[in-house]
Amino acid sequence: MDLNYTPDEIAFRDEARAFVRAHLPPEIARKVIEHKRLGKADYVTWQQILHRKGWVAPHWPVEFGGTGWNPVQRHLFEEECAAAGAPPLIAFGLYMVGPVIIAFGDAAQKQRFLPRILASEDWWCQGYSEPGSGSDLASLKTRAERRGDHYVVNGQKTWTTLAQYADMMFCLVRTSSEGKKQEGISFLLIDMKSPGVTVRPIITLDGEHEVNEVWFEDVEVPVENLVGQEGRGWTYAKFLLSHERTNIAGVSRSKRELAYLKHVASKEHAGGRPLIENPRFRDKIARVEIDLMALEITDLRVLAADRQGKAPGPEASILKIKGTEIQQALTELMMEAVGPYALPDLPDAWGDHWLGEYVGPEYAAPLAARYFNYRKVSIYGGSNEIQRNIISQQILGL
């Protein structure tokens, strides 16, 4: 029993830290830390910096561009990135479709798509949810009919994150309505520039354009864009979910946010004293901090099991639930900390090149929007209620 890292692990962490500190552009880190709006270029710039170092896809097999790091090394790297304020890697290519293509794609697909994912030349988006298929994903209705060497796709996807930037979509489509609903689903790669694809923004509570509706009207997709076998898409989708778990708890990001919360609470005043010294507010911070300490150990316990080759299991659902609860609590406390100055709604103030006057402290500007935005985290990626169903079935056997 030893909660300390080995000298080798510490040496690795120092190397990762030195690289991240030297190469992460400070203006990007500043946006991340201060909750300013990130643009496509910010994400791509950082991913390309990592790509040039060969570190953009640590979890991929080495032959496809991975680093060969073990789970602890990957964890340490993610910690260093988060602590420094690096933007999160966009998961759709690197964490979602990439591993699926590696596991189930054919040689041509690997050759065509993987290098472009690594180089951030293609921005991918995820075509899963539909208006009628949320938590009950397998009920999806978007149809793909085989006609000669094409599929013709008709239907609608929704909640498609950052589809406005996307070059490609990996999409679950129904190729058969026979048998069990899971069995008629296929995994299709769709070029977003194809005729018949329409992307319409959905504006969320925070006033931001993050998600979209995507419509397909007789969109032709070449059959070589089918991953694996027709009708096996559900299996690939489940495989993908098990790989999405990397850093699912978000501990290192939450640690950075907790430090920022303390920073804000030390700047704000209540009754003539720093808010952080107000017993009521201090207790709220302390309680989140304790929950986060526990989650960090829980995360490391899962990681240690992972290192010993135990398959990623339903524990990921625990990490997702507790991790998102803490993330939400932090955004809530941050908004609470700035009091009435959470109210001004000036979306330009947290964008690029804002030269106007702030109302209240600069750090207060994006905090309400962030609080409203973060209500999403307990809904997406399998809502926290669906995660409870998974734990109930797979761990408890109920």
């Binding site: 029993m1 030390s266 304790i290 929950d291 989650l295 734990i391 056997g397």
Partner: protein, 398 residues
Amino acid sequence: MDFDLTEEQQLLADSVAKFLDKNYSFATRQEIIASRGGYSPLAWEGLAGVGLLGAAIPDAYGGFGGGGVETSLVMEAFGRHLVVEPYLATAVMAARLIATAGTDEQKKYLLPSIADGSMRFACGFHEPGSRYDLGHVETTARQENGMWVLNGVKSVVMHGAVSDLLIVSARTSGKPGDPDGISLFFVNPGEEGVAGREYPTYDGNRAAELIMLNVTITPESLIGNVDKGLPLVELTADRAMAALCAEAVGCMDALNQATLEYLKTRQQFGVPIGRFQVLQHRMVDMLMHHEQAKSMALLAAVKVDSEDAVERRRAVSAAKELIGRSGRFIGQQAVQLHGGMGMTHELAVGHYVKRLAAIDTSFGDSDHQLDQFAAAESARPVERTQFEKPRSKWKQIA
């Protein structure tokens, strides 16, 4: 980083589990509680026989040489079996305190007597007016003719009436609440002027109010240095709390197992009640509380042996705060999910619930721990400057 037990630790965990399975069933435990002394001399002998009383005693004095982790392995098993023996005060608090601060004579005489089961201890650190404040000591010890004379009252001393030797804190200078001026003493309960009133506690243990009236003891009864006892009292309390956290985790484990079993077998409306989603999700919440509690008990077990008192206090208080909350949640839900059966005295469930409640109260409940944690937090150097970077270039121009 390594969560595995060493071979010796695994052996220890196995032997305590085996011993209790064989000798400490719930029925036996209920008989012990109803017996005159409220403890089992037979079980005590057995614990000594398998070496458990020496788990935290140095090898040189007939022990196992363990620390926080070894203690937590024993205590977790005790939690599963609701053990009511004076193990915590004797084999954890007294044994480790003597090993840390005792003179060679004290170690040579007392430690082997703990390991072989011939001496039981009780620790009186709290007083009627102190609540959970270890520094609030009104009991006095004054020097008279080369002897120490003690006067005062110690409250809710666990197993206070069945011990062979008491360890008490007393004020040798200053006033109640002063950090300096507290000293620790061994007091023989048979000494003239020591009176006790024994009573049962709701968790099946026994405790006593101890009154000391002009109790005269030898200079050799002093533990550690005069006036410098508080850090030792705090260290001993932290060790006890880390052990109690492990015991609580054992109780939670037993409660969750029993509740899950009940959900699978109890039939209502023609199905096992575990089919109902509202109960499934409740059970999942109980599981998550248990996992987070396990993580914190582990952190406390490791950090309680930290040289850095602030780091130690921070981890132990955080663990006990979280475990107080999770113990309350699991306890209340276990009764709720067992329905009317959970209310009965005959089922073990309620007894675990009571023990968890008692553990929360011991050495300070969650509210108290939150205060302690926040105090330790503010004593820690925090790097707040990372958010005070100079403005970026365009900002300076503006």
